[in-house]
Amino acid sequence: MVRLVVLWCPSLAREGSRGEEPRRFTEVLDAATELAPFARPVRLGVLAIPSRGPSRFFGGEQAFAEQLAAIAGPLVGGGGRVLVGAAEGLFAAVLAARASVFVPAGSTPAFLAPWSISTLREPDLAAACQRLGLHTLGKFAALEEARVLERFGTDAVRRHRVARGLDGELPGLRDTAALRRLDALRHRDEPQGVQGGFFGERGAGDARAAAAAQRLERQLGVGAVTVARLGAGRAPDDRAALVPWGSAPASAAHRDHAAPWPGRLPAPSPAAIPSRALAVSLVAEDGTRVAVSSRGLLSAPPARVELDTGRPRSIVAHCGPWPMSERWWGTSRRRAHLQVLLDDGLALLLRAERSRWWLAGVYD
């Protein structure tokens, strides 16, 4: 297993409301890459570097770590502290950074032993082990592998190997979504294909637009400037997404948005989609709440709709519901959509989900 030096910037680990943490972290990354070319982000605020090369170059792991902390400290800003640690394998190295420890070569299993079982990022396994009195990684690691397989299954065996210090990669340890975003931020000087012009060529207009978008993003914060991505799906909010400028291009499967998709809501689509869920109440003529049955039928024709504030408004026509039962094999999601036309000419798309009605769109 590769010995790694991990740098942890706690103040950059979570994106705040101003959204400047990812950008600051890319600066830390760039600086670390200049010091050691194989510096790689693990997730927001955490980066890992193979120890061997830089340690030789800087005359020891400690010396290298001091250099790293010295250049990262000012970039983190706001008096944010940085933590450095080293151990064998990514899992142990991240914990070592958290504790600011340089684990001597070969004693990684001993270093891991006192840590809580919950560091394995598997709540079910942690709960089961706690019940058995196995509170630490060391106690879990002491189990025989065959027993672990028998009792907890193959996934737990993988974590068992991590607890024993035989493996350093744990599912979920690397935040892939954050990594993709950091990647996009770092390579923003050559934004990727999504915004390419005709035939993938980038003309002068494209470069000008890209420059303006970048300047604006610098002023307003990461994520303020977005582009649209259209995918497959049934409801308008499934099919469309606004993604930050410069994000990786959509996968090939997502590009084929014109392909027929059974159960898709018919055109026209609402021109305004609420970004937050907005509950509405839908009642029948006799004042009872309208529900959608498990067969996808309305309990009564809707007569009035009440948006979060304001008086109830009369419905002159409605169409639907279009029931959708998705992912019945896993986290099931049952929804139904309903178009309603109000007496003042306003047309709304409503969605029934979790036994409530929500505003899914306004035909503005």
Binding site: G197, A211, L216, L220, P236, A240, P268, A271, I273, Y363
Partner: protein, 221 residues
């Protein structure tokens, strides 16, 4: 190329006369979808001009604003949408907007004028929805800057008085009604157009916004 072989100079001269007006026009005017051409003074969006799109919420003003982007975006011009908190991206694609050419600043957080002005440097058309009635000075600055940069500013407001300075054209949705057969099919929208100068006389026209296939269509009459 194989049909006839006129002399080389004649071909060049012929090409020059053919190309010149088209090139000049394309530099000055950005195309709009055919049903919307009748609403605009030049039958297109003139670079450097300001067009106000006004309509009460839910009347179709958003659709009209987005529909004005369709032909420009498909012709390769970059467009931006500022302050449209929740754009219906699927609806945009049904209207015929080329989404690869649109930059969104959905929530500029009080900096809509700054964002709009910044986008003037990079795109050809900016559709901006101010959060409230626009201050006179801010509007004047944006109009001047749009003219200076040769960008079309489309201001999306609830009432035409929310845009305090004269615009080159004002498209006001006065009435709209849905045609349904159970489900929503198309919306007939009445648009009152006014401009400045010779095109200043108010006119009324009808649009299908959206039409039966999601795109904008003229309703005749």
């Amino acid at each position: 190329m194989f049909a006839s072989t006129p002399s080389r100079t004649a071909t060049a001269a012929e090409l020059a006369t053919r190309i010149r007006p088209v090139a000049a026009a394309s530099a000055r005017l950005l195309p709009v979808a055919e049903p919307l051409a009748a609403l605009l003074p030049d039958g297109a969006l003139r670079r450097g001009s300001t067009v106000v799109v006004a309509g009460a919420p839910g009347r179709g003003a958003t659709s009209l604003g987005l529909a004005l982007l369709t032909a420009a975006s498909t012709a390769g011009h970059w467009c931006a949408a500022v302050g449209l908190d929740d754009p219906g991206v699927v609806a945009m694609s049904e209207l015929g907007v080329d989404l690869r050419r649109v930059v969104f600043v959905p929530r500029p957080r009080g900096a809509w004028a700054v964002a709009t002005a910044e986008l003037f440097e990079g795109v050809d058309v900016v559709l901006a929805r101010p959060p409230a009635r626009v201050a006179h000075a801010a509007a004047r600055r944006l109009v001047a800057r749009a003219r200076d940069r040769g960008v079309v500013l489309l201001a999306l407001v609830e009432h035409r008085d929310d845009w305090p300075v004269p615009a080159d054209a004002t498209l006001e949705l006065t009435d709209s009604s849905w045609h349904t057969d159970g489900r929503l099919l198309e919306r007939r929208a009445e648009v009152r157009t006014a401009g400045r100068g010779a095109s200043g006389r108010p006119r009324r026209s009808s649009l299908l916004l959206p039409g039966p296939l999601g795109a904008v269509a003229s309703a005749g009459g």
